[in-house]
């Protein structure tokens, strides 16, 4: 079933794929403050939508990517929760145009990581069902978007490669390893900056050639040229 859902989504017109992206962003972030006027049930609806997006993402991305996404999200959420606890205790109002009671305040702060997860799911579903080729119909601008999008794809591939390299060097928690309590999290936080910096370096090293190849493809498309 999973494969047919993914295939169906991939065959959608780019406009519909963009609609999924925009609707996710709207539900989980942009429109969220305005939805709060409907009270606590909003959180129930939000949770249901998050679950739906999560199932869809698991179908599109597969087990490994899903696990990695959840790990990255959980790591960020731990840091956020520490900060949020201070803000909650101090009763800091998060929105300048709205005064929240204690329950709402608590729900708002605690739902924040879930909304971030919703954004993760939406963005990664979009990435999973969209290809740089989808943008080609937009001419030269599309070709540039395709290059940027390909750079994003490359960074995802690089993420996997660098993570494996760090596992081999004992600087990232391995999936099948046994760790003492907390050791996995310590490794995760220690390795994260190296992971990000190395991915960034790899993109920089990859980009000039990708640029040259895209420019060449553009030239070929302009001149025509197949057997």
């Amino acid at each position: 079933m999973a494969w047919s859902v993914t295939r169906g989504l991939r065959r959608l017109h780019l406009i519909f794929k963009l609609l999924i992206l925009v609707s996710g962003a709207a539900l989980f972030f942009i429109l969220f403050p305005y939805l709060l006027r409907f009270g606590a049930p909003v959180y129930g609806v939000l949770f249901f939508l998050l679950l739906s997006f999560g199932i869809l993402f698991r179908m599109v991305a597969g087990k490994q990517t899903f696990r990695l996404t959840m790990m990255l999200w959980a790591g960020g959420s731990v840091i956020y929760m520490i900060i949020a606890a201070v803000l909650i205790l101090r009763n800091v109002q998060p929105l300048p145009y709205m005064q929240m009671g204690r329950t709402h305040l608590l729900l708002y702060y605690l739902s924040y990581p879930l909304r971030v997860l919703g954004i993760f799911f939406t963005g990664l579903i979009f990435a999973g069902i969209t290809s740089p080729a989808d943008f080609l119909r937009w001419g030269e601008a599309g070709l540039r978007i395709a290059l940027v999008y390909r750079a994003f794809e490359y960074s995802v591939i690089s993420l996997g490669d660098v993570r494996r390299a760090l596992v081999l060097q004992g600087e990232w928690p391995e999936r099948y390893g046994r760790y003492r309590a907390g050791q996995r999290i310590v490794l995760f936080f220690r390795g994260a900056p190296v992971l990000v910096a190395t991915i960034f370096r790899n993109i920089i090293l990859w980009f000039p050639w990708a640029w040259i190849c895209y420019t060449n493809l553009k030239r070929e498309l302009t001149e025509g040229g197949k057997k």
Binding site: L168, Q169, E174, K227
Partner: protein, 468 residues
Amino acid sequence: MTFSYQVEDHVLLKDVDLPLESGSFVLLNGVENQAFGLIGGIVAGLFPIDGGEQIPHLEELVKVFKGSLNVSEGSLPVRAVYLGPDPEKHLLFSRVDEEILAQLGSDIDAAAVLSLFRLKEGFLERRISSLSGGEKMKLALAIAFFKDATCTVLHGIVPWLDENGKACLIREISRAQDDNRCVLVMEQEIDDLLPHADRHLFFDGRTLKPPEEKTLHRLGGKIVEVSRILGELVTSGHRPEPVVSFRDVEFSYEGYRDGGFRLSNLSFVLESSRVYGLIGNNGAGKSTIANLILRLEQPSGGTISLFGKPLESICRKDLMEGVCYVSQFPEQHITLSNVQQYRSRAETKGNFLSKKLLDIYFESEREYPISQLTPLQMKALSLISFVTDRTGLIIIDEPTWGIDPEGLARFFEFLTQAVQALDGVTILIITHDLALVELLSAEVMRMKNGVLVTEEKPVVRKKMGAGN
């Protein structure tokens, strides 16, 4: 055509005389430096890139592509296609069918494109990221040969290809010649291609000249000699103790039913102080075996033992110290910014063997930023920085990729120095290249569709890079 190329005041290519006549097949080998890579891009019209074209923040990296080209005789091919050693840079889209559609147009029979390199129609719906390196190269080659061009330039593609792939390549080159197209192949592994080439030229680091028998034999002879020394050194202390043991191992990647492969009931033993050559076609499962030993993947059934202990019971620190892994693409495994940082790390961790070898190979007063290292230096760095005095197994994935015969000989010399400092080590070479395995007098393990096919120890020796 004859051309020169310089960047600022530095002449990288001097009077390069390339006889690119229609219907001809020209084979280049020689020193694999930065200038060698530029030749293909220049012939294909990729370089120099337009000086006005700005690549933000990357000017230093692209400086070499913005040099000045002087064509003193003849002219560049009208329409040339270039394919370099990293297919990842040439495959620009997500799925195989999209790649073909975007690069060749919608009126193309995509299955026919795939058939040029015997890729099955089922590949069309696969994501490019799910293909093995060899499969990516075959796809890129199929697209390159399908394009309408007067000249096809291929650089560093053979190390990716299995026997089927090489046979397809030779057939497509021949077809291109029949269509009056010129084919320029820049390669270090030339043994299979040389009998079919119309011209063979040697790059000395700056210009082209006819290959001299003396040079070729010196390089070929050097590799044979260092390989012999390495092989003998490793096997001198042979003890029939198991280093790695696979028993009825089962493994499959997620989604293997969509065209992937699976390992089924895989059993073998690697003994101490031996050299093993794991060979096989693209996607046969060679690298997966390394991933299982390194515990990057977990088998769904069966058991794996390392140094006599169940693999899952070994802590990562012991695994790191016991197994040294050199990837086909070492830049992916180099996570520090320069060689000095590796030197400092070796000191901090008390890895004196690594420190000693780093001092021999990399001058201590230089930083060596990673972005400026050659593939040979990266492989050497990867080997040197991850070897420890407790290393009992060295796994090297495709050692010939991106390096010339002289570089390979130097790499083997470093390996020899590392082995000398170790008390009994087993080497597992993962390669497509049987000749390399034969040179090291290695035990051959052939993978075929996830199954290990046992072979006799090779007897016949071939010369590497000697163009015999």
